[in-house]
Amino acid sequence: MPDIDIVTPLRPASLSRMGRSLTAFFLPHRIIMVLVALFALAMMIRTMDWSWLPAYMPRLWEGLGITMLMLVVSVVLGFILALPLAIAQVVGPLPLRWLALSFCTVIRGTPLLLQMWLFYFGLGSLLGQFPEIRETWAWPYLRQAWPYGLFSLTISFAAYQGEIMRGAFTGVPKGELEAARAFGMSRAKTFRRVWFPRAVHRALPTLGGEIILQLKATPLVATITVTDLYAVITKVRQDTFLTYEPLLFLVAVYLCLSGVLTVLLRWMESRVPDAR
C-alpha cells in the first residue's frame, strides 16, 4: 500500500491549478444561475425603494450589534452550561443523570417562544412583586427585557448542545481513553487531554448547524421588546409602509451571517483530520 501523500495539500496551489479549478467551477449552468442572481439583484436595486436605508443605518447597526451579542453570549454561555449537562448524563450518579435528562427533554420539547414569554411575562413580573428584589443591585437589569431573552436563548442552546455533547462523549472510541489510562493518566487528565477535546472535535460539524439555528432563533427576542435587527426592521416597516424592501434586506443580512459562520466552522473542523 503506498503511503498517503500528506505534503501536497499543504503547498499553496499554483496559479495554473487555481485557473483549472475556476474553469471547473464555472460550468454553464452555474454561469446562468449567477447571471440570474445578478439580474434579480440589479432589478431589486433599480426598481425598489431603498431611500429609507441611509436614515435607518445607525439603528440597523445597533440592532445588528444586539443580534450578534445575543448570539455570541448565548452560544458561549450555553456551551459552558451544556458540558455539565452532558457529563452528568454520561457518567453522573443516577439522580443527577435523571435531572439533566429531564431538563434537556423539557427545554427541547417546548417552543422557545413559549419559554421566552413565560420567563419575561411570568417570571419577570413575579420578581417585581418582591420589594427585596427591587432593592438589590440586580433590579435595574431584571426590569429590562434583554436578560430574559438572553436567559431563554442560553438555556435553549444548552439543552440542545448538551444532548449533542452527550452523544459526542459516548462516541469517543473506548480504546483512546483506555490508552490514556494505560499510560498512567489520572481521570481528570484523561478528560482534559483526550476525552473532552475528542468529543468537541466530533461535535464540531453539528455545532456549526446549531449555531446557525441559534442565529435564526434570535429574532424571537423582538417579541419581548428587545430591539435586535429584526425589531429595527419591523419599525422600518411600520414607519415607511414598505413590506418587501426591509424584509429582503433582512434576508441578505442573515444569509451573510450564516455564510460567515459556516466558513469559519468549516475551517476549524479542517484543522484536524478525523480518524478513519
Binding site: M1, I4, A179, R181
Partner: protein
C-alpha cells in the same frame, strides 16, 4: 543482588459475572525476558495481559511490578485498587501496545509520542521532543513527525504506538496482539520493530497469533487454555516437542 522479576503474577483469577475467564495464573518475567503468550480465542490471553496494568481488575491474586504489588482492598464489588496514585505510577512504567493502536487522533505523531512524557511524567517539552524524534527514527517514522494518525497506514500507526511506549522508557512492554488488526502485507514491518526491541533485551510480554514470530523472538512461551496455563517452557520445547495434546492440536491447527 538477587534479580527481582520485572513482572510477577501469582494466583491470578478473573471472573466476569458468572464466567470465570482466568482460573489461577502464575507467571514471571525477569528483566530481559520476552514472554510470548499463545492460545486459542477465549483462552484469556488478553484479559491476563490487561490485568497486569489493571485495565481489568483481578478477582483474586497478586500482581507485582519490580517487587511492588498493587495495593488492593475488598469491597462489595470485589477487589478494587486501594491507591489510585500507585496504580497511575506503575502504569506509567508499563508501556502497552494495543491491537487497534489507539493513537490519539487529535494529536500529530509527535504529539502522541510526547504526550505522556510531558503531561504525565513532567519531562520538559524540548527534552521530550528530542527523545520522541529519536524513538520515531528508530521505528522508521522520522519523516512523519507532523502527520496525523489518520494519514498513516495501519503498520505506521502501530509503529507510532510502539514509539509512544518507547518514549517513556518503560520497565516492561505489554503487547496485546499487535499485528492482528493489520493487513497481511503490513505485519512484517511491525514485527521487525518488535524483533529489534527483543534483541535489545527489553522485557516484554507478547500476546500473539504469530507462531513463527513467537518461536523466533521469545525466551519463554506460555500456552493458555480455558483460563489456565496448560504448558510453558522455552520456545523450542513448546513448538518442537509439545506434551499436552491440546497444545499439539493448537500448533497443528495454526501452522
Amino acid at each position: 543482588m538477587t534479580e527481582q522479576p520485572a513482572i510477577r503474577v501469582k494466583g491470578l483469577r478473573k471472573r466476569f459475572n458468572r464466567l470465570e475467564v482466568l482460573k489461577g495464573i502464575d507467571l514471571e518475567a525477569r528483566p530481559g525476558d520476552v514472554v510470548a503468550v499463545i492460545g486459542g480465542s477465549g483462552s484469556g490471553k488478553s484479559t491476563m495481559l490487561r490485568c497486569i496494568n489493571l485495565l481489568e481488575i483481578p478477582s483474586a491474586g497478586t500482581i507485582s511490578i519490580q517487587g511492588e504489588a498493587y495495593a488492593m482492598r475488598e469491597t462489595r464489588q470485589g477487589l478494587q485498587p486501594a491507591d489510585r496514585r500507585q496504580v497511575q505510577r506503575i502504569r506509567a512504567q508499563l508501556g502497552m501496545v494495543f491491537q487497534s493502536f489507539n493513537l490519539w487522533p487529535h494529536r500529530t505523531v509527535l504529539g502522541n509520542v510526547t504526550e505522556v512524557p510531558v503531561h504525565v511524567l513532567g519531562v520538559p517539552r524540548d527534552e521530550a521532543e528530542a527523545r520522541a524524534r529519536e524513538v520515531l527514527d528508530r521505528v522508521g517514522l522520522g519523516a512523519k513527525l507532523d502527520a496525523w494518525p489518520a494519514q498513516l497506514s495501519g503498520g505506521q500507526q502501530q509503529r507510532a504506538a510502539i514509539a509512544r511506549v518507547l518514549a517513556v522508557d518503560p520497565l516492561a512492554m505489554l503487547f496485546d496482539e499487535p499485528t492482528s488488526a493489520l493487513d497481511p502485507e503490513l505485519v512484517g514491518e511491525v514485527l521487525s520493530v518488535i524483533r529489534d526491541l527483543a534483541q535489545e533485551k527489553r522485557t516484554m510480554i507478547l500476546v500473539t497469533h504469530e507462531m513463527a514470530f513467537a518461536r523466533d523472538v521469545a525466551t519463554h512461551v506460555v500456552f493458555l487454555r480455558e483460563g489456565r496455563i496448560e504448558e510453558q517452557g522455552p520456545p523450542d520445547q513448546i513448538f518442537g516437542a509439545p506434551k499436552s495434546p491440546h497444545l499439539q492440536q493448537f500448533i497443528s491447527s495454526v501452522a
